[in-house]
Amino acid sequence: MVEQLIIAAIVLGAVAFIGRRLWLAIAAARAPKGGGCNSGCGCAPTSPAPKKSS
């Protein structure tokens, strides 16, 4: 029973994740042109880790 619950949770999590990605992709189609490479393709050209320099 516990095993089945764990499996169900993992599968539901996967379904939710794919659903969200699909939604993001559709939302990206509606974004303004300057919106950039954020349509869930994994191609975002930048790293979000700026180096602090002085």
């Binding site: 999590g13 990605r21 189609a29 191609c43 700026p50 320099s53 002085s54």
Partner: protein, 722 residues
């Protein structure tokens, strides 16, 4: 330590330096090293390349100033002048002029290429006229010195009336001075137009400048625009409703200029180039004037009418041969590692569905895609080396004649080549193309270029069904050549489809291409390897998210509902029955009639259907399907399974080279990427128009894929192949 100083805008007000926020716009001609400088200043990893048009959108980064100031740097696409001709230039100018909701920058850093200073000074003079605190980053002084060009930076400061900082962005040299200059320039007098104009020109432009001031422009910007607008065919959208009042004034100014026996359309160019030519004569010493540079000598071969195309083909053959052959040992190692992990996890867990989920679903699915990481890394290594060396721009030049023949602009070649990596940034790269119809035609065909997501599909099928026969005395192998053929098939079809679009829906004139040839240089190994690592990370992230999730879902569909199996049947038969009666099996049986004419069974059918989420999911789905209910204890490579799969109906092998080739052809043409559809909608204009083009793109590619695969399979059978 923090210091206090009085900013210009708030006399008498002191702000602690560490609290001060400064917004810096990084502008310059294309391929001057802006993004390299941006990366060096901010520590970000914005894509860079040794050709024009790499940056097509604005990107913000942060850094600290010398006194702890919070500096926001905005990297923008390159532009040659402050009159936008293409969407990427519009983005650049929006940042610089503070239009479209952008705040005005506090400081402008113009990145100028030291080797081509005269041309770069055109934009410099325009930016100076905007009256914003401006710093000139004289970049690539090392390349200039290597070419015998020496720039007197101090003399240049006096000519421009603005700070000039020599930099070598690739090596991080001059950056500390540049950081200081970005802040200290705020305390210097604002720059002004660096050249004078005759009284008759000034008088002719004065009413127009006054009109622009009435509509909200500052006197400096109005003076700049008054001269610039003489050559602009249509007033830019940022003038808004004021266009109706300004347009007649522009016409009057043109008439007044013409009355002074001057050409209003070319006046700005003549004034600026006249000035920049004088500045260069006073500040630049060219020790090798007139001599052929190393790049010229290399270009004599690379751009030769005969040798150039042959060399291009040889480079492409070497790239795909390298991807297939040189990555094989690493691929075998990853494959071995994945199999051992699967065996290890399987041995640790008790028999049951959770074990099945982890071993068959997660490791079987994700692992079957992960083994192609070395090929992906190799592909991006080659692309990086070709881009950074300067060869990519030459390839665009070589392809220009062919592109024009099909009706495409030569500039389309760079987005198309970028499509080998990923169609999404490649479609965004079409922003560099001025003409809307050329841009749309390019967007429509870019997804035909085989992106890196297709690589695992090709590699799996070629590895399983194409024998490693040596060609040309072992120089090439049939496997590498087959992969090249798949890439060529996509490229040639893209050109043919573009020709159809340009002669039907997107009919329009073909414009000549003006392409700047960057100097050849040794690829920067750090930049190239960083890019490869970045791409490998993306691939791993994708494997750990989308592919993992799809594998879990497909495992569940392939496992449930459970079937009551009759006793006494073999394990292989039990596996087959369970699969056929699972939810996935039922879906597969619905799809099967559609794919049966292509030679595919229901397993390939559901794998194709699942790969609409991402192309690599085809491989992970096959990995999951062949992992579920696995009969033996030892994991076996997916390609070996496919090769050995028996058709229970005939007793013969289920898959053949003919089916594999048909399947690869299907993947060459099919648009199975939601992200590409989304970016096509956006870049094709958004709304109904954007969706319309995206639907056309999706349907023509799907039709092309289906009927080509059908022709391969049925044609092959008619010729006697199985």
């Amino acid at each position: 330590m923090s210091t206090s100083f009085a900013p210009r805008s708030g006399a008498g007000v002191t702000i602690e330096a560490s609290q001060r926020r400064i917004r810096v716009a990084l502008v310059g001609n294309p391929n001057t090293g802006k993004s390299t400088l941006f990366n060096a200043l901010t520590g970000m990893r914005q894509r860079v390349g040794n050709f024009a048009g790499v940056t097509v959108e604005r990107v913000e980064g942060a850094m600290r100033g010398p006194n702890g100031e919070k500096v926001t740097i905005v990297d923008v696409p390159g532009c040659y002048a402050l009159s936008p001709a293409s969407p990427d230039e519009e983005i650049a100018l929006g940042v610089l002029r503070g239009t479209g909701g952008e705040p005005m920058p506090d400081v402008v850093v113009v990145v100028a290429d030291a080797l081509h200073l005269e041309r770069n000074l055109y934009l410099v003079s325009q930016v100076l006229e905007l009256g914003l605190p401006t710093v000139i980053a004289l970049n690539q002084v090392d390349a200039a010195a290597a070419a015998g060009v020496e720039v007197d930076a101090v003399a240049l400061i006096h000519e421009l009336g603005a700070p000039v900082v020599p930099t070598i962005a690739t090596r991080g040299e001059g950056l500390d001075v540049l950081r200081k200059a970005m802040v200290s320039v705020l305390d210097l007098p604002l720059p002004v137009r660096p050249f004078g104009m005759s009284a008759e020109i000034s008088d002719a432009l004065a009413p127009l400048a006054d009109e622009l001031v009435v509509h909200g422009a500052t006197p400096t910007v109005a003076a700049h625009d008054a001269l610039r607008l003489l050559a602009v065919p249509r007033l830019e959208s940022w003038f808004g409703d004021a266009r109706t009042a300004i347009a007649p004034m522009v016409d009057e100014a043109r008439i007044a200029i013409a009355a002074a026996a001057l050409n209003p359309r070319s006046l700005e160019a003549e004034l600026r180039y006249g000035w920049s030519s004088g500045v260069v004569s006073r500040t630049v010493i060219n020790h090798n004037a007139g001599a052929r540079t190393t790049s010229d000598k290399i270009d004599a071969v690379v751009l030769h009418r005969v040798w150039g195309p042959l060399l291009f083909i040889a480079v492409m053959v070497m790239v795909f041969q390298g991807i297939f052959t040189w990555a094989t040992p690493a691929m075998d190692a990853v494959e071995w590692g994945v199999a051992r992990i699967g065996d290890g996890v399987g041995a640790l867990l008790p028999d049951g569905d959770l074990r099945g989920l982890l071993v068959d679903g997660v490791i079987g699915g994700v692992g079957s895609v992960l083994v192609f990481l070395p090929q992906i890394a190799m592909l991006f290594l080659f692309i990086g080396l070709l881009e950074d060396s300067g060869y990519m721009a030459r390839a665009a030049y070589l392809m220009d004649r062919l592109m024009r023949r099909v009706g495409l602009h030569g500039k389309s070649f760079i987005p198309m080549i970028s499509g080998f990596a990923c169609a999404v940034p490649a479609i965004m790269a079409t922003r560099t193309i001025e003409e809307r119809k050329d841009r749309l035609a390019t967007i429509m065909v870019v997804p035909l270029m085989s992106c890196s997501a297709r690589l695992p599909v090709y590699t799996l099928l070629i590895g399983a069904f194409v024998p490693p026969v040596a060609l040309l005395g072992g120089l090439f192998s049939l496997q590498g050549v087959t992969m090249l053929m798949m890439y060529l098939l996509g490229t040639v079809t893209a050109l043919l489809v573009a020709a159809v679009f340009k002669r039907t829906l997107l009919r329009g004139p073909v414009r000549p291409m003006i392409l700047e040839m960057p100097a050849y240089r040794l690829p920067n190994l750090r930049t190239t390897l960083t890019n490869v690592w970045h791409r490998a990370q993306m691939f791993l992230r994708r494997a750990g998210t989308v592919i993992l999730s799809c594998s879990v879902i497909l495992w569940a569909l392939a496992t449930y509902p459970k079937t009551d199996l009759p006793t006494g049947i073999s394990e292989d038969r039990a596996h087959e029955m369970q699969l056929e009666n699972s939810a996935l099996g039922h879906v597969g049986k619905v799809i099967e009639p559609l794919v049966r004419p292509l030679g595919y069974d229901w397993k390939i059918g559901v794998s194709i259907a699942a790969s609409f989420a991402a192309r690599e999911v085809f491989v992970s789905t096959m990995g999951t399907i062949y992992g579920v209910g696995e009969a033996d204890e030892t994991s076996m490579a997916l390609r070996e399974r496919l090769r050995a799969e028996v058709n229970p109906a005939t007793g013969g092998l289920r898959y053949s080279p003919l089916i594999a080739i048909g399947l690869m052809v299907f993947y060459v043409f099919a648009l199975m990427c939601i992200s590409t559809v989304a970016v096509t909608v956006r870049e094709a204009g958004g709304g109904r128009i954007g969706w319309g083009w995206a639907v056309i793109q999706f349907l023509y590619m799907l039709g092309l894929a289906y009927f080509s695969a059908l022709a391969v399979y049925q044609g092959g059978r008619l010729l006697g192949y199985q």
